[in-house]
């Protein structure tokens, strides 16, 4: 008969620290890292594509180095944002056993997103621009 015992606490046991926020945003929060990844990915891809269209391929060595430095800086910022968000959520959730699932989900997604962002350094550093 144990399944009959149901109290309010049991139904409601995934109450978050910031449950005032809109439901949609709370649903998407564990994927925060991936949203940053998407923005970063689009930024470097579109940036490179538009720069090549505008004639970066024919530009001098200095201009190209500056452009690559901007891409590297973007990557560093994006990584910092993702890691920072994960650390913040970790602090919020670590003492709440009910929130373990959410915490692991958030941190795991952030970890994979971080790899996705950091790996963009390989093309930025190793592949000739606009060839």
């Amino acid at each position: 008969m144990s399944s009959l015992e149901l109290d309010d606490g049991e139904l409601d046991d995934e109450v978050e620290p910031h449950s005032r926020t809109g439901t949609l945003r709370r649903l998407l929060d564990p994927a925060f890292g991936h949203f940053v990844w998407a923005v970063h990915f689009l930024a470097v891809y579109v940036g490179a594509a538009v720069a090549c269209v505008l004639g970066l391929g024919a530009a001098g060595e200095g201009t190209r180095t500056t452009f690559l430095a901007v891409l590297v800086a973007l990557t560093v910022v994006a990584t910092a944002v993702v890691v920072g968000h994960a650390v913040w959520r970790h602090r919020q959730y670590r003492d709440l056993p009910d929130q373990r699932f959410r915490m692991v989900l958030t941190i795991g997604n952030s970890g994979i997103a971080t790899v996705g962002i950091v790996w963009q350094l390989f093309p930025i550093l190793l592949v000739p621009v606009c060839a």
């Binding site: 790899v115 390989f122 190793l126 592949v127």
Partner: protein, 326 residues
């Protein structure tokens, strides 16, 4: 299931040894294809090892049921995260450095060729140093051995893709765009290429040859390709030339010194071509005659009509004339 890894190994070994074929990426004859092949071998070996590992791990619980519970961290962190993370952190940077040969810079002395894809054949034009159109060919690229050759790839109608597996990877030909690639053959020979992007009804019959010859031989060939054709010497050949003109062949085909049209393949040296109809049938007078009389039967849907109203002797004369163009 237990036999499969071995089967895979055998097949992988087979794929590495059975390299033959005039159109094989496993038989590289140029620096670009060779570096891609090297990358391939590394990945074949890696993939085989991972497949063996996964297959073995997956079968173990059936062979030897365990009593203790499994070490989750070893599987999830070790197999799930560390394995792909480490192997790919090694592989990805390497991949980034491979294959730049096909986009390398070239010097002005080197050969530059415009290749234009049509449904379903290839127009080939050698650029003079001033950029104008020099010697021309169709469905055949003659290149000097051991030199990087610069190709400018265009499309006249739909998307095609230029691919000679033994020499380099493929590059698409896209209407409205010009793609550039660099190609080099390290040893003399004939390398077969084929359209690799589906381009309509006869996509299957859109092949070409890259003929790599030593530089002097190449120069001689290019000189011939740039000169007007000679006057026909026998009455039959003269009749053939007259037919070429009167039937309107020249409205589509160029024969240097006779006609300049470029709607169909340049026929200035058609007599020496290895194939007709972009690889549909071999060259030679018999096939030329067959092609003229029944192009729509041999390669339905191509742009050339079947000239099936010719009398026997006329057909022979026209075929003989074309065969004499070398």
């Amino acid at each position: 299931m237990g036999r499969d890894p071995r089967l895979i190994l055998i097949l992988v070994a087979l794929s590495l040894t059975a390299c033959g074929g005039p159109q094989s990426a496993l038989d590289p004859a140029g620096p670009s294809a060779a570096s891609l092949h090297r990358l391939g071998i590394i990945m074949y070996v890696g993939a085989t090892l991972v497949t063996l590992l996964v297959t073995a791990l997956m079968l173990v619980p059936f062979l030897r049921p365990r009593e203790r519970s499994v070490n989750r961290n070893l599987f999830l962190w070790g197999g799930g995260v560390a394995l792909p993370l480490l192997t790919l952190t090694a592989l990805v940077p390497y991949v980034m450095t491979v294959g730049h040969e096909t986009r390398a810079a070239t010097t002005p002395q080197q050969v530059s060729i415009d290749v234009i894809g049509y449904v379903y054949w290839w127009d080939v034009a050698y650029r003079r140093p001033d950029g104008s159109r020099g010697g021309a060919a169709a469905n055949e690229l003659h290149v000097p051995v051991g030199e990087p050759v610069e190709l400018f790839l265009h499309a006249a109608d739909v998307i095609h893709s230029f691919w000679v597996p033994s020499l380099a990877g493929k590059t698409d030909m896209i209407p409205g765009r010009v793609n550039r690639m660099v190609l080099q053959a390290d040893r003399p020979g004939v390398y077969r290429g084929q359209c690799a992007e589906y381009c309509g009804l006869q996509h299957a019959l859109m092949a070409f040859d890259v003929i790599a010859v030593p530089r002097p031989e190449f120069d001689a060939w290019l000189a011939r390709a740039s000169q007007p054709t000679g006057q026909p010497e026998t009455p039959e050949l003269r009749q053939g030339r007259d037919l070429f003109v009167s039937l309107g062949c020249g409205a589509c085909h160029a024969v240097r010194g006779l006609s300049e049209a470029r709607l169909g393949p340049d026929l200035t040296q058609v007599g020496s071509r290895r194939t007709l109809g972009a690889g549909t049938v071999p060259g030679g007078v018999g096939n030329i005659a067959g092609w003229i009389a029944s192009a729509q039967h041999l390669k339905p849907g191509n742009a050339m009509p079947s000239y099936d109203q010719l009398e026997g002797p006329q057909l022979r004369a026209l075929a003989a004339y074309l065969e004499s163009l070398k």
